[in-house]
């Protein structure tokens, strides 16, 4: 990962290689929900280069810290999505099982 400027730690551009809209847009969403962030956006400089630039500007905190927290938040969200999904599948299977039993009786 490359860093833009080191002069002002509250405004940085992070360049992620081997990533695309999948991660960058999700991170943009989570970063924008963080009250410490004043501006956040991303761009893909060239479509045939697997690289995204994520710009983060904060109210004063280190942009890298804020980005790290956002990644952690996104991981927590994903974990919650996964658990909710697995519960929903179990619930569906159980209801299907009781339904099919009701038919055989």
């Amino acid at each position: 990962m490359e860093h833009g400027s080191y002069k002002n730690p509250s405004a940085s551009t992070f360049s992620l290689s081997e990533e695309d809209h999948t991660l960058a847009n999700s991170l943009r969403f989570v970063l924008n929900k963080d009250p410490r962030v004043t501006f956040c956006g991303y761009s893909i400089p060239h479509p045939s280069e697997a690289k995204v630039n994520i710009r983060v500007q904060t109210t004063g905190d280190h942009a890298s810290e804020v980005l790290k927290d956002s990644c952690q938040n996104l991981m927590n969200i994903c974990e919650h999505v996964r658990n909710t999904f697995e519960n929903a599948v179990d619930e569906y299977r159980n209801s299907e099982a009781t339904d099919s039993m009701a038919i055989t009786h």
Partner: protein
């Protein structure tokens, strides 16, 4: 906590589909967007409280579920990962010993690559260019089909791909053949053990997912003899590794009658809709149109196309409600595919965190 006025709440939570173009398509993400009205747009805690999933349909290779309370950025990330980044096994190298059929070698190899294989890719490793093919990264299939002279034409189907658990049976050409005839001749793979000795494959032998995919048709006297090596890969390199036929979502349609519609006008409205969203109910003061099946709405906008009808009907979409469908090609069941996709997004975050620290 103060609430947003109705017109802003509508813009925040709905996409409007007007007769000419949709409006309010972009979600308002910024946490301080409504700060001047005392409303917090962060609501991360709300997500953990309100996020819901309900399975509508689950079969061997298809799932449809409702995902409520999540942003399109994440729903789209899951969809993109499902299509391009969840790994599967697919035939990558084909060694053709003999092919006298009318189908050319390269076309045949391409057809073989697209055949879905019934094997869990999580049991295998990626094979890089410099790795030797071994039992952990390669699956070998043999195919030998011929049509005898005088026999009618026959069709080679995917069930004729025979899994070779001990690896390749084709010998490597070596320069010093006569140096040590007792030494075991080397083949195109270097398996240290047979894959069929592993417990996960002995009960569930590897084969093509569907036995009836046509590979080639042979005329009398024609023959195909080849070996196909399958490796692990992801859909963004080649679509043959994509674990889904398609994965898609749509936002929940919302059809609202802005004014009561009665009698002849109601019947006209019912006739307008090609997917029967509206019904007629008998009430005290006449026959009234009601929205009976909003989920069926395809937002074709036929009901508001005629002049003035957008005064009666509003077509909207709920911004945070997704009807998500996954069609698996068969390597993994669809519900496993989704959990795998979410895990991959987590791994991506993990990677960024380690690079930042």
């Amino acid at each position: 906590m103060p609430e947003l006025p109705e017109h802003l709440e509508l813009k925040r939570t709905r996409v409007s589909c007007n007769f000419d173009a949709p409006t309010d398509t972009e979600p308002i993400l910024y946490s301080g967007a409504y700060a001047s009205m005392g409303v917090d747009n962060t609501n991360m805690e709300d997500f953990f409280k309100n996020f819901k999933i309900k399975i509508n349909r689950l079969t061997e290779d298809e799932i449809e579920f409702d995902m409520v309370g999540i942003d399109a950025a994440l729903a789209n990330a899951f969809r993109r990962i499902l299509i391009a980044e969840v790994p599967t096994m697919a035939i990558e190298k084909v060694f053709i010993a003999n092919n006298t059929s009318v189908i050319q070698d390269e076309v045949l190899a391409h057809r073989l690559g697209l055949i879905p294989l019934n094997v869990d890719p999580r049991l295998f490793e990626y094979k890089s260019e410099k790795d030797l093919p071994n039992e952990k990264n390669t699956i070998v299939f043999g195919l030998h089909a011929r049509c005898e002279r005088g026999a009618p034409r026959n069709t080679v189907k995917s069930d004729e791909l025979k899994w070779l658990p001990n690896g390749s049976e084709f010998l490597l050409a070596t320069e010093d053949n006569d140096s040590d005839p007792a030494a075991k001749a080397r083949t195109y793979t270097s398996f240290s053990c047979g894959q069929d000795s592993l417990p996960e494959f002995s009960v569930n032998p590897i084969c093509a997912r569907h036995p009836d995919i046509t590979i080639a048709r042979l005329g009398p006297g024609q023959e195909i003899e080849l070996e196909a090596h399958a490796v692990k890969g992801v859909g963004k390199e080649h679509a043959k590794w994509s674990p889904v036929a398609t994965a898609w979502y749509r936002m929940l349609p919302e059809v609202v009658l802005l004014q009561d519609v009665y009698d002849e006008k109601a019947e006209k409205l019912v006739r307008k809709c090609p997917v029967n969203v509206f019904d007629i109910e008998d009430v005290a003061n006449g026959r009234k149109a009601v929205v009976a099946r909003p989920r069926a709405c395809t937002l074709c906008r036929e009901c508001i196309r005629e002049e003035g009808w957008d005064q009666y009907v509003a077509l909207r979409r709920k911004r945070d409600h997704f009807i998500f469908t996954i069609e698996s090609t068969g390597a993994l069941p669809p519900e496993v595919l989704f959990t795998e996709a979410v895990k991959i997004l987590e791994d991506k975050c993990e990677r960024v965190i380690t690079e930042l620290s």
